[in-house]
C-alpha cells in the first residue's frame, strides 16, 4: 500500500470513530468525552481483533501455515519447489529458505515475483512450536499466542518486543515490489497489541454458530 493509501486507511479509521462521537456530542451536550481515541484502547478483546487481522493477513500467514509447507502470494497458494519447514524452520538441508531468500528484498528493478528477503534471514517457526496462524478462530489464535508452551517460550513483553521491532515482522509492511503490505498500519497494530497485553491478554468467548 502506498504512503497515501496508509494515510487514507488511518484517516478512514479515525473518521469511523469520530463521526458517531460528534453526533453524540451534538445530541447530548452533557455526555462525557470518550476516554480513548479508538476501539483498541477501549476494549482489549476488540484490540485483539486488530492483532488478529494482522496475523492472518497473507504477509504473516504465509509463513505461519497449517502444514509444513509455506505459502506464497496474496492467494496463499502452497510454495512451489516443494519447499518445507525443515528441522529448524529454515527449510530443508540443501534447500534452505536462504537459498532463494536473501538478507534484503531484491532491487525493485528486478520486477515482480522475486523472492523477498530480510536481514535476519527468512524462516518459519520451528517444528517444536509451529505457531499456526492459518484457519484459527480468534479465541484459538489468542490462546496460542500467549501460551509460552506454544509460542517458543515468549513472555508477553517479549511478544510485544517481537511485534514492535523484529525485522521479519516489519517486513510485512515493506514486502517488496508487487506485494500488498499488511493492511493495518504497524503503529496501530503495536498499539492494539500493547493494549491487549496490558489488560492481561484476554481472549474472547468461544465461537458459536451465530458468531463463528
Amino acid at each position: 500500500m502506498s504512503t497515501i493509501g496508509l494515510w487514507l486507511a488511518t484517516d478512514g479509521w479515525r473518521w469511523t470513530i469520530a463521526a458517531p462521537v460528534a453526533l453524540a456530542l451534538i445530541s447530548c451536550s452533557h455526555a462525557p468525552a470518550p476516554a480513548s481515541p479508538g476501539p483498541e484502547r477501549a476494549d482489549p478483546v476488540a484490540s485483539f481483533e486488530v492483532v488478529r487481522a494482522v496475523l492472518q493477513s497473507p504477509r504473516c500467514v504465509n509463513c505461519h501455515p497449517a502444514g509444513d509447507a509455506p505459502l506464497q502470494g496474496d492467494d496463499g497458494h502452497v510454495h512451489l519447489q516443494f519447499v518445507r519447514r525443515g528441522p529448524e524452520g529454515r527449510g530443508a538441508t540443501g534447500l534452505a529458505c536462504a537459498t532463494c531468500h536473501a538478507r534484503a528484498n531484491p532491487p525493485e528493478s528486478y520486477g515482480a515475483h522475486m523472492p523477498p528477503g530480510v536481514s535476519t534471514e527468512w524462516r518459519l517457526p520451528p517444528p517444536e512450536h509451529k505457531m499456526v496462524f492459518a484457519g484459527l478462530n480468534s479465541r484459538m489464535l489468542c490462546e496460542q499466542l500467549k501460551d509460552p508452551k506454544r509460542n517458543g517460550g515468549k513472555t508477553m513483553p517479549a511478544l510485544v518486543h517481537h511485534v514492535a521491532g523484529d525485522p521479519l515482522v516489519l517486513w510485512g509492511w515493506s514486502p517488496g515490489f508487487g506485494r500488498k503490505p499488511v493492511p493495518i498500519p504497524h503503529d496501530q497494530f503495536v498499539r492494539a497489541f500493547e493494549t491487549w497485553a496490558a489488560a492481561g491478554a484476554p481472549c474472547g468467548p468461544p465461537p458459536t454458530a451465530r458468531n463463528p
Binding site: Q81, T99, C100
Partner: protein, 153 residues
C-alpha cells in the same frame, strides 16, 4: 568491488544491483553457471555462498562482498569432487543445461548431510528443474556421491 570467487580475490567493476549471475558470467567469464528463469524458480544458476546453495540470478552482487562464492568451476580443480565423479559414473547428463545447478545443490546437500535419504535428496533438489527428466539418475548419483564422501572420511 572486491569479491572472493573460487578462492581467488577478484576486483569487479559492476553496479551493486547487478545480479551475481551476470557478474559471474559476463564480467568474470565463468560461464559454467547457467541462466534459466532469472527469478529463482529453476535452480540453473545455483552457486555456493559461504558453502550454502544460493540462486545467483536474484542476488545483487553487493550482497556477496566479503563472502565466499563458489561456482561449478571452483567445486574442484579437476572434476574430482565426489558429486562430479558420481555424475559421470551414473551418466546423469542428457542435454546438460541444468547440470551445473544440480551438481552445486547436490554438493551442498552432502556437505551438510553425508547420509541423505531419498526423501532428503528429493527435498534438497526440488528447486532444480531438469527439462530432460533425469531425476532418477540425479538421485542415483547423489547416493553414490554421498557414499564416496563417507568412504573418504
Amino acid at each position: 568491488m572486491r569479491l572472493n570467487v573460487n578462492g581467488t580475490a577478484r576486483e569487479v567493476d559492476a553496479p551493486g544491483d547487478m545480479p551475481l549471475l551476470w557478474v559471474i558470467r559476463d564480467v568474470l567469464g565463468l560461464t559454467g553457471t547457467k541462466f534459466g528463469c532469472g527469478m529463482a524458480q529453476c535452480g540453473a544458476c545455483t552457486v555456493h555462498l559461504d558453502g550454502q546453495a544460493v540462486r545467483s540470478c536474484v542476488l545483487p552482487v553487493s550482497a556477496v562482498a566479503g563472502r565466499m562464492v563458489t561456482t561449478i568451476e571452483g567445486l574442484s580443480p579437476d572434476g574430482s569432487h565426489p558429486v562430479q565423479k558420481a555424475w559421470v559414473e551414473a551418466d546423469v547428463v542428457q542435454c546438460g543445461y541444468c547440470q551445473p545447478g544440480q551438481i552445486m545443490s547436490a554438493a551442498a546437500l552432502i556437505a551438510h548431510n553425508p547420509s541423505p535419504s531419498d526423501d532428503d535428496i528429493d527435498l534438497a533438489l526440488a528447486g532444480n528443474i531438469c527439462r530432460c527428466g533425469t531425476y532418477q539418475r540425479v538421485r542415483e548419483a547423489v547416493r553414490k556421491a554421498a557414499a564416496q564422501r563417507r568412504a573418504e572420511r
